[in-house]
């Protein structure tokens, strides 16, 4: 989503263009899917009504955002935003950590999955290996006490099941 080097002279704010088109496509997909919903016997309204209204709303606001992107104020904003540098990989690493945790939680169990996720997360946010290891050991213990012991959330044990208490 990096707006790149949009200058004062661009015709339109590129972020707005992308967002608007994205919303429009999402709305269109919803509308098409909603046409397949069953109808309510003999009535003009059914389960497709609200998704269709929402879909149209998404498409219209998408158009609105594109139109707004063409105003001088928004074009100027694009020029400023373009100067901010962004690092993409730490963000992706956070997303991957969450996905990893979701995938491994039932298999490895809460303690191991949380420790690995914490190890990765501290590294992503520029902590040293020593810090990462200590957080990876301490965090599962604290969250175990809070969530499992006090708040009685049934966290899965996974591989640790033989040790469960």
């Amino acid at each position: 989503m990096s707006p790149g080097c949009a200058g004062q002279t661009t015709m339109i704010n590129r972020t707005d263009l992308l967002a608007g088109v994205g919303l429009f496509v999402l709305g269109a997909a919803m509308a098409i899917e909603a046409r397949g919903f069953p109808s309510l016997g003999g009535m003009a309204f059914g389960p497709d009504l609200f998704p269709t209204i929402t879909a149209v709303g998404l498409m219209v606001s998408g158009v609105g955002i594109v139109a707004e992107g063409a105003t001088p104020a928004r074009r100027a904003a694009a020029a400023q935003a373009g100067e901010q540098a962004r690092a993409l990989w730490p963000m992706l690493a956070v997303l991957l950590t969450i996905a990893f945790f979701a995938l491994t939680l039932p298999v490895l169990g809460f303690h191991i999955a949380a420790a690995l996720a914490m190890l990765a997360a501290v590294r992503v946010f520029a902590g040293g290996w020593g810090l990462a290891l200590s957080v990876a050991i301490v965090a599962p213990v604290i969250t175990h006490v809070i969530f499992y012991t006090f708040l009685r959330v049934p966290l899965p044990w996974g591989l640790m099941a033989p040790l469960a208490w």
Binding site: Y148, R152, V153, P154, W157, A164, W165
Partner: protein, 324 residues
């Protein structure tokens, strides 16, 4: 009275058989057990299940964590019970919907996917009207619906939910069109009762226990109780057995169940523990406070009840045209 006696007797028998079988049925959990409730916090299933969970917890000394897995008119929670590891560490409150959901095409799940352990509650439906309603008796209501099909509306739960079956099944059994009183779906008994009081619908058919406080306060009138015997807490409400030629009755029920394939050792341990708990004074008081009777069934009886109830509900659903 008769039911009470049989209940007490069967409880005693169960307690005895539990003692006799102690040699094998002595499994007990060593860590926390997850107790899945397919319905929301604040409802009857939730209240009963939390009570059962806290009693099991005290008996066995490990946490029984109640998790409300709501959604999909019961599909989500029941699937979670059925799909759990059959190790005794996940049990749940399977309810009557396990026998209706698959007939209306919500899921493939049936009672064969769970191992019933104990019956917790039987919850008969009711017929409720607003206090200023022109209908003084169930017969008035049915006569009006017969002459003006489609004019009246009723609510209580989702489309195809158990209280919908209660109404449509009753109309069908009395020779009316199942939609002679139109069904307005709702997200549960509380919003349906709200609609009833606000004048949005003419009739509500939730569990009588759910409408009990409104009946007692005079806001709504109970025309009938869909059961064989009158409710002890509301003895003035006639039963459909007395009122109707068809003798139509319908009750929901709540069980404690595990996933299918639960080892016999674990299942009989739960059965023994639960029948012991259900014979206590504490449980009797809890049930009395909710205006309900203590119920009890052996696992064999319960399994048999699930089978017959499945067939009966299937026929009702077929008859009222909701089968898929």
């Amino acid at each position: 009275m008769k039911t009470l006696l049989t209940t007490a007797a069967s409880a005693a028998v169960l307690a005895l058989s539990a003692v006799a079988a102690q040699a094998q049925c002595d499994w007990k959990p060593e860590r926390a057990v997850t107790y899945i409730v397919p319905w929301g916090a604040g409802g009857g299933t939730d209240a009963n299940s939390r009570m059962v969970a806290s009693m099991l917890e005290r008996k066995w000394g490990v946490p029984f964590n109640v998790v409300n897995r709501t959604g999909g008119n019961g599909v989500t929670g029941h699937s979670a019970i059925a799909n759990a590891e059959p190790d005794g560490y996940t049990i749940g409150a399977a309810t009557v919907e396990i026998n209706t959901m698959h007939w209306v095409g919500l899921t493939d799940l049936t009672y064969e996917d769970i191992t019933p352990l104990a019956l917790v509650d039987i919850v008969p439906a009711s017929v409720l009207v607003r206090k200023d309603s022109p209908f003084e008796s169930l017969q008035d209501l049915l006569d009006h619906a017969r002459e003006n099909p489609g004019e009246l509306t009723a609510s209580g739960t989702s489309q195809g939910g158990i209280w919908h079956l209660a109404l449509a099944g009753m109309l069908n059994a009395e020779g009316l069109a199942p939609d002679a009183i139109r069904w307005i779906p709702s997200q549960g008994a509380a919003p349906a009762l709200q609609e009833l009081i606000a004048g949005g619908v003419d009739v509500a058919t939730p569990a009588l226990s759910e409408g009990k406080s409104l009946v007692e306060s005079g806001e709504v009138r109970a025309l009938a109780y869909m059961h064989d015997t009158r409710m002890e807490a509301l003895p003035d409400v006639p039963t459909t057995k007395e009122l109707l030629d068809s003798g139509w009755t319908l009750a929901a029920w709540i069980t404690v169940s595990g996933p299918a394939g639960l080892p016999e050792e674990i299942a009989c341990s739960y059965e023994a523990a639960l029948s012991e708990l259900f014979a206590t004074e504490e449980w009797a008081e809890f049930k009395a406070s909710r205006g309900a009777d203590v119920v009890s069934m052996s696992r064999e009886e319960l399994a048999e009840m699930l089978r017959t109830s499945n067939v009966a509900l299937g026929e009702t659903i077929e008859a009222i045209g909701l089968a898929k």
